[in-house]
């Protein structure tokens, strides 16, 4: 078999031109497949890493995915809120170590505004337990201080000290729904995280209360514009309610009992979800698109493999003479079969290897840029089992496909005998 392998190798080297073209086709298809696969894995991990370190998310009863969507992804709206006294009772539970209350519902030029406490910066984690880092400035201290995410700063060109006008509701239009008389100021800009935090304006819970002074009925009170900044500061700005609460447990082991206790809370009904489970449930929604993407890239590989088949089949006629020489010097039809199968396998193997090299070279160069720009981490996608399996699968598929021309040559070598007249 080693002799046949060396023959196969020399035969390929003799047809370098067409073999290299085929190799390139296979390499590109494998690189595309692995690129899609790695982007998918990276996106999935990034998605799963949107929030970490938080054991439970508590909100008013709604759907699991819905609570996750508005509390973590800042998408959609809460249908109900959790009252402040209920929040205080929850925070006081002995099995709960920390809580981060958040309040949503306003926006700044299309970016969501999130009211929270200092604890947010201490306990909100993403990725593999990474904490939020301020790229510039500091946390909010004053009622009218705001800390903005990296995308907000980049897209709106905000710097430390830039004034912000928040609008009621979620539209970008500022017609008569504005909180113009409550000017905010940027005091901090967060480093990119690749999570919805990048697209969020963070203010204190008191600020949320403050901007709604005069809006208690749900619409703007015509008199509210007469209330100025100093008056607001003198009000009691303790919030009446919060939208959701991120919860860290004192002991991880109590997660299920604590969750049950919250879900069966006497008085105001509450709902607690486990972020990991909810994220998995949400991700499964995208499984269909994911599979479609995979199917496409698998077909691209199939095209690459067919190019191996084509190149060998077209070479068969001109190699008829070569086959009969091999037969004459003692090659069995099985040897001819093996020769062509091995040629196909070699092209598949080398093509896949080149493809793997290519995609890793691309990731090495482009990975840091992608991470900085989109926050999708392609790190941890270094050569791994996926690449090994792909290499094996492509080689195996090429060997199988090689059986087609091999069979043709096998049949022919039996029929031709020793004498091929050309």
């Amino acid at each position: 078999m080693r002799a046949i392998l060396s023959l196969a190798w020399k035969s390929l080297m003799n047809r370098k031109g067409s073999v290299i073209l085929t190799l390139v086709a296979v390499a590109l298809s494998v690189a595309l497949f692995l690129g899609v696969e790695k982007a998918r894995t990276g996106a999935r991990e990034g998605f799963g890493n949107t929030i970490s370190g938080t054991d439970l998310i508590v909100g008013a009863p709604t759907g699991t995915v819905n609570l996750l969507l508005y509390s973590v992804f800042r998408m959609g709206n809460a249908t109900a809120e959790v009252s402040w006294p209920t929040y205080e009772k929850l925070a006081a539970r002995p099995d709960i170590a920390w809580t981060v209350p958040i309040s949503l519902g306003d926006s700044h030029r299309g970016f969501r505004v999130l009211g929270t406490t200092d604890a947010y910066f201490d306990h909100y984690k993403y990725g593999r337990g990474q904490a939020l880092v301020l790229a510039k400035g500091e946390r909010f201290k004053d009622v009218f201080d705001a800390v903005i995410g990296a995308d907000v700063a980049r897209e709106l060109g905000h710097e430390i000290g830039s004034p912000l006008v928040l609008s009621h509701g979620l539209g970008t239009a500022n017609l008569d729904g504005g909180h113009e008389n409550r000017p905010f100021r940027v005091v901090g800009i967060l480093a990119p995280t690749g999570t919805p935090v990048d697209r969020t304006v963070h203010v204190s819970l008191e600020a949320i209360t403050a901007i709604h002074v005069g809006w208690e009925t749900g619409a703007k009170n015509p008199l509210s514009d007469s209330i100025d900044e100093t008056m607001i500061r003198s009000f009691d700005l303790t919030p009446k309610s919060v939208t959701a609460i991120f919860v860290g447990l004192a002991q991880k082991g109590t997660i299920l009992t604590t969750r049950r206790a919250i879900n069966t809370n006497k008085g105001e009904p509450l709902m607690a979800i486990i972020p990991g489970a909810a994220l998995a449930e949400l991700w499964s929604v995208t499984a269909f698109a994911e599979r479609a993407l995979m199917a496409v890239s698998v077909f691209v590989i199939a095209v690459g493999l067919v190019s191996i088949l084509t190149s060998i089949l077209t070479s068969l006629n001109e190699r008829r003479r070569e086959m009969s020489i091999l037969r004459a010097v003692g090659a069995r039809p099985g040897h001819i079969f093996a020769l062509l199968v091995l040629e196909a396998g070699l092209v598949g193997f080398l093509g896949a290897l080149a493809g793997i090299g290519l995609i890793h070279a691309i990731l090495l160069v482009a990975g840091p840029m992608v991470e900085a720009h989109y926050g999708v981490s392609l790190a941890g996608t270094g050569p791994g089992l996926t690449d090994l399996y792909t290499l094996l699968a492509v080689t195996l598929a090429a060997l199988v496909i090689g059986m087609v021309p091999a069979w043709a040559a096998f049949r022919r070598s039996l029929a031709d005998g020793l004498s091929v007249k050309l």
């Binding site: 020489i325 010097v329 003692g330 090659a331 039809p333 099985g334 004498s419």
Partner: protein
Amino acid sequence: MTDPAIQIEGLRFAWKGSEPVLDVPAFTLARGERLFLRGPSGSGKSTLLGVIAGVLVADAGRVNVLGHELGSLSSAARDRMRADHLGVIFQMFNLVPYLSVVGNVTLPLKFSGRRRRIVGGDADAEARRLLGRLGLTDEALLARRVSDLSVGQQQRVAAARALIGGPEIVIADEPTSALDSDARDRFIELLSEEAARTGAALLFVSHDASLARLFDRSVDLAEINRARVSA
């Protein structure tokens, strides 16, 4: 060692659905004999060589090569038989284009353990020795791609390949038809010498009756083949 190299009795062969091309009552090639088999193209000589080489199977009759009944051997055993005991030279295009000159000569050793053993350790050196005896000594020539060699040089490489590892029978199918007359006589001379040295029987097939004088014995295929083949 008393069996003849080739002994044929009552051989009949027809391609599927056609008239028989071979009907040979008797044919013998003794060991070490240098036999000239004359036959015009289309006389069935290539078919006969295919049967002797064990690539084609006779419809009837006995084909005995070195004491082995080919008809009773499996196709794998016939292939092994050919690899071990037969050297073949074609009319032209004898060489595998992607192998070096030496690589072409040593090719049969890849398929025959027996010939590998006979050659012993250094196959390349044996190939060079054979090539040298056939007049191919120039290293620059040996380094060339085989397709860049002249036809005469190619045929000598093919002869070295047929002879390496001491097969008992060398079959040459019109090996000189593409050579001019000087090169032709020289080629046959070298081939005969080397075959004699290794003790191989030489079955030389050609349409050119004028070559018969260079051999021990001459047989006309038309005389031993009773099948009427149209040319």
